[in-house]
Symmetry: C2
Subunit: 334 residues, 2 copies
């Protein structure tokens, strides 16, 4: 280690010019054309041979901008969020910035700490995918107040009066799904979900009736996978025609329980997934479900964040439509 790190000052000294000149040349400023051909060449060669690299910290300090976007996420390891996270990181790169991951494991305390940290201008903006911030504890309120004007913020799938949000619109996909279920003679369908996250169940309950389906709710908690096992057992006892799982991970857990209970999917029980990931198609059986095009969704998230970064104050709620993807986890009528 300990190879010397070159600064612009040293470069200037060695080149026998001022730091200004070096800065102008290396940044290819218009004024560089007024620097003599000779000096320019000397500076470039020196920079090359000493592997000069501008110090990002100094730059960031100067511009008051890091080019880093913070991503506060409850969970980044389950397939659905992993996909989202990677695509966000890719889109960030495409737009010339980097994504900083701050997993919070759905822990409000950690979310608050994370936001506190991000509020110190370590990042140019924040994308937040975490419901707990919606809870109105005293500390979240304090942060909400503090963040205004400090860090551009966009939330994902959250509902708030004073923060822009990009949401999945479950309605179109759910309608397609219910129509498909009805056509295949399915009458009763259970939503397997965590009641702490209400958006899906609202659409579910409202739409099921319209399609002549009998809707039921079976709850579990993301925090404790044992509750999912118990929920699965309740479903096995009840024997609906179909189960709609709240996420791909939930669906896989459920299928795993079904396998242990000797229940075949889709022969004995149909299953569909909300928030389908690519991985769903590789499951056995391949899982049908509702999906929002990640590219589209992420584009909206960044567009809105850029608006905030550019100082546009308008609070918007953007909804990205879902659609049904049919694979083999739903029993079809012959």
């Amino acid at each position: 280690m300990s190879g010397r790190v070159v600064t612009i000052t040293e470069l200037a000294q060695k080149a026998g010019v001022s730091t200004t000149t070096v800065s102008i040349v290396l940044n290819r400023k218009p004024q560089a054309r007024r620097v003599s051909e000779n000096t320019r060449k000397r500076i470039w060669e020196l920079a090359e041979s000493l592997s000069y690299r501008p110090n990002r910290l100094a730059l960031a300090m100067q511009r008051q901008s890091t080019g880093i976007i913070g991503f506060v996420c409850g969970d980044s390891a389950t397939p659905y969020y992993a996909e989202l996270t990677e695509q966000l990181a890719n889109e960030a790169n495409r737009r010339g910035c980097q994504l900083l991951m701050t997993p919070t494991v759905w822990d409000t305390r950690r979310e608050i700490d994370t936001m506190e940290m991000l509020l110190t201008r370590a990042v140019d903006g924040v994308i937040m995918c975490s419901q707990a911030f919606e809870n109105c504890s005293e500390s979240t309120e304090r942060i909400k107040r503090a963040y205004h004007g400090v860090v551009p913020l966009v939330t994902i799938n959250a509902e708030s009066v004073d923060i822009s949000t990009v949401q999945y619109d479950y309605e179109p996909g759910m309608a397609e799904l219910f129509e498909y279920l009805r056509q295949n003679g399915i009458r009763s369908v259970v939503l397997l979900d965590d009641p702490e996250f209400p958006p899906k169940r609202q659409v579910f309950s409202r739409l099921a009736g319209e399609f002549g389906l009998e809707p039921r709710l079976v709850d579990f908690s993301f925090r404790d996978m044992e509750t999912l096992k118990r929920a699965a057992e309740r479903i096995f006892a009840d024997r609906p025609d179909a189960v709609l799982a709240t996420s791909d991970l939930t669906a896989m857990h459920f299928c795993s329980c079904a396998g242990q209970a000797g229940i075949r999917i889709p022969e004995d029980l149909s299953i569909a997934v909300i928030d389908c990931s690519q991985l769903s198609s590789l499951y056995n059986p391949p899982l049908s479900g509702i999906r929002v095009d990640p590219a589209l969704f992420i584009g909206e998230v960044f567009d809105e964040l850029e608006r905030k970064i550019n100082g546009i104050p308008e609070i918007r709620t953007i909804r990205v439509p879902s659609r049904l993807e049919i694979r083999n986890s739903i029993k079809v009528k012959l």
Copy 2:
């Protein structure tokens, strides 16, 4: 937006003291005890009411340290890497820093750009999980030379003479697996792998013989999943007793192909996985395989990175042992 951001200077002015005093008080330095009770209180109250937050950029600039660790990873969305990524992020948080994700989609060009970016001291250290950097192109060589002494670096599962690396030791797990296969009457086993990543196949070929197994290699490329389908067909034609898939994602892809071909697992064909993730246990059937304890592994990665950050130059190769996890994807002898 546009709420004023408070600096320590303003705070000092309003409090009628110098910035030094404010700095000392707010940072709870030992000298703060020599500041009058009264002044201290005034400063704290002012800071609170104006929601003062120290400017990270200025701090970072001053200390020449950001508290950010860069994670260069070929792929962060597949279950195995998603798990690794999240755990790294968590461990980083636990150690008081943040993880910056820079996905490279196994693209050498992007890896180089990424490293160039990270070399500008935007980060305190880099964890790299990407084989392509091992290739000796002119540009990677230039970067390798440049990074020395600039950014502490630790690679994952790579082999290099001048960079510390933490590796999976496949040997113990593979030995356990082969013993288990042998006991269950399995004779021929195919390794389904990408030849660009040699470590697994070396152990595989060496150990298979010792356990009286007949080893075969069937190759595909991570870059193109069509090659995996073709590889699967070759395996179906060949009909070995068991297949050892190079990753959980590969295994799922393979099982998906098997399902379409009407081949039952494990009745018709056994399968095991290297680089098993948690998700493997939720698959249908639950996948057996070799796994390295992520907590242990990640601890080693960070320990070594911290050594580098603390200026310890010694190049080390650390190997973390794998072990077998038995589930239901291998046909057992009755």
